[in-house]
């Protein structure tokens, strides 16, 4: 089991490094017009001739470190194609070395270091994603138990069929549609004006806990609705599978009540195979925050990533990819711990 976990973590870590490297190199190679875009957006009012613009572009390239080669080797094809070795003076090496020292780089947009930016954003995202993860898990457990029914409920009743239909319909709806729908229903002066839709950033320090929680209701609800079907439906299917097993018949013959049969006998056996999907819960919640924080204008990591992607701010985008991949590693480790908790054979073998 430990070996399995180490193998999984190693593979996921390797994949995370490879993905981040790929995004880094592709963004540096493909984005030739970055400095032009920045120059034109930065100082529109300046009258620029061709020569000053060339000088300014060169200065900007130097400041951003874009004048160095991107990778260790470059392929040059002047008359005959060949490779050229640049040594350690290249953008990728500097980025990787900075990463190993905990330095994520500087944003293109405002020149600020990315680490503190991410930290302030995580203060908003962690409670949101954490609350959503806990709520989604609890609701999924409850709904799974309801959907599975008792050991005697062989066929789906109409109520359960309707619930099943609603859940499976929710599965394909994009997160932003859910968010817009909730926003329109519950924070609309024309419909129900129940919940506040405005941002947390309006009032950062004098925030009361109650108001804070009230503002988190809709984002958390959106995230829960988005991940609920992929948790609850497989759980219900696994429970129904377990209810057909022989040990359930034996327990029923011994007179175990239906509710405790479901919770104490079937559930512990149905859970372990599903823990892999619980491992992907955290990264998919983080992907959900990209949309949710944009809609509800919360200044978290997701909105940071979405705005950086819209503004071609590559260092921030690469950092966001790294954070997401790190969260996936965390999810894998967490799923392993839960696996040990859910399966006594593994717990006792440790």
């Amino acid at each position: 089991m430990r070996r399995w976990l180490l193998l999984q973590l190693g593979r996921a870590g390797l994949a995370a490094w490879a993905t981040a490297s790929l995004v880094f190199i592709l963004s540096r190679l493909l984005a030739v017009g970055t400095e032009d875009a920045m120059l034109s957006s930065g100082n529109d009012l300046q009258v620029r001739t061709a020569s000053t613009s060339a000088v300014a572009r060169q200065a900007l390239r130097q400041r951003l470190g874009l004048d160095e080669p991107v990778f260790y080797v470059t392929r040059i094809s002047r008359n005959s194609a060949s490779w050229r070795w640049h040594g350690t003076h290249n953008q990728y090496h500097h980025w990787l070395a900075g990463l190993l020292h905990g330095q994520l780089g500087w944003s293109y947009r405002d020149g600020q270091p990315i680490g503190p930016k991410l930290r302030t954003a995580l203060v908003y995202t962690l409670p949101l994603a954490g609350l959503a993860a806990v709520a989604a898990t609890l609701v999924a457990l409850a709904l799974g138990l309801v959907l599975a029914g008792g050991p005697l409920a062989a066929s789906l009743t109409s109520g359960r069929a309707a619930l099943h239909l609603v859940l499976s319909s929710l599965q394909g709806i994009p997160v932003f549609m859910l968010a817009l729908g909730l926003l329109f229903l519950f924070a609309n002066p024309d419909a129900l004006d129940l919940l506040p839709a405005y941002s947390l950033a309006d009032n950062p320090d004098g925030l009361l806990l109650g108001a804070y929680l009230l503002q988190l209701i809709m984002p958390v609800l959106t995230l829960v609705l988005a991940v609920l079907p992929e948790l609850a439906l497989p759980l219900a299917a696994a429970l129904r599978h377990e209810l057909r097993a022989d040990y359930v018949t034996t327990a029923r013959a011994k007179g175990v009540p239906a509710a405790s049969l479901l919770r104490r006998h079937a559930l512990p056996n149905a859970l372990p195979p599903l823990l892999t999907s619980f491992a992907s819960l955290l990264p998919s919640l983080l992907a959900g925050t990209v949309v949710v924080e944009s809609v509800f204008s919360l200044p978290g990591v997701g909105r940071l990533l979405a705005e950086a992607a819209a503004a071609h701010d590559y260092p921030v985008v690469v950092a966001g990819v790294l954070v997401t991949a790190g969260v996936r590693l965390l999810g894998l480790a967490l799923a392993d711990a839960l696996y040990a908790l859910a399966d006594p054979r593994i717990r006792l073998a440790l």
Binding site: R11, A12, A15, A16, A18, T19, L22, V23, L26, S27, L30, A31, G33, R75, S77, S80, A81, S82, W83, S168, S169, Q171, G172, I173, P174, V175, F176, M177, L180, G181, L183, F184, A187, N188, P189, D190, A197, P283, S284, L286, A287, V290, V291, S294, V295, L305, A306, A308, A309, A310, H312, D313, Y314, V317, V318, G320, V321, T324, A325, R328
Partner: protein, 328 residues
Amino acid sequence: MSRLLRRPHLKALPLLAVGWLVAVSTAGLLAPWLPLPFAAGVPDLLHVAEPPSWAAAPQHWLGTDLFGRDVLTELLFGARQVVLLSLPATVLAALIGALAGGSAGFWGNRGCRLPLAAGLVLLAAIWWLIALPGGGQVACLLLAAAALAWWAAPRLLWVGRSAWPLPLDSLFQAAVTLLGAVPRLVLVLALAAGPPLSTGQLLLLLVAVAWPEPARQVRAQMLQVRTLPFVEAARAAGLTTGRIWFRHALPHACRPLRATVPLSLAGLIGLETTLAFLGVGRPPDVSSWGQLLSMLRQEPGAWWLLVSAGGALLFTLLALQQLARSNR
């Protein structure tokens, strides 16, 4: 028509779903030639962000958006994104996924063996193409070795037996793990963060993130299919392995795709509209349902945008789910 509806296997719901999908694809294909009262992308600056008006002279049947463009026109042109971007991406991803997953599942890590001569020729070609040091000479040397191996194969036993196993399954798993390291939305956001992409580039990007899903299903099914007696019978009948794989095993291994391709189309439509909603990767003048919906962030009271664009998107996704359910 009424007799059609009464037949037991043609219920109203699947018919409705197919009808809606046909309507959306027709609208998407024919949008530039439809007789619309307002041209696409042309703002009506006198009527900006107005709810539907049926009585007054400029009849914007579904209202106008924040730039003053007619919502009905934008909606019909937005259907083009579904037909010309998401649908081809899904089909391509399913094809690539079926081929990749099918070969990884059928041959595994040791099943596909490259003869020594063919392997050397391949190596020479790669060496020459990416111009590794000593390009031409080394490639010629490798080719000579390949010719020698080809000559020796029927004559010397150890040359004839030696072959390089292609670790197809490991390569496949590595690619899937690499693409699964971060959620699909984050990967697409990161790769589309550059200057606006053309339709072809976005199509390639969507295919690149979408193919692992069908590939995994085909691989899992292929692992079962390859042990079935009819594959063994085909082998005993003397068919070549490639033919058995393509003509006999692959069609069976692709069966789960019938139910999952509509769902992955729904997933890609969701991804594409999310990109447009966030304003990433596309030039702002491309009409899309996601872009219409993104205006709700600036104008939360624009119910007609939510009803029209949101309704179109919702009906399309639900219809695709219904299609998947009836294909199961």
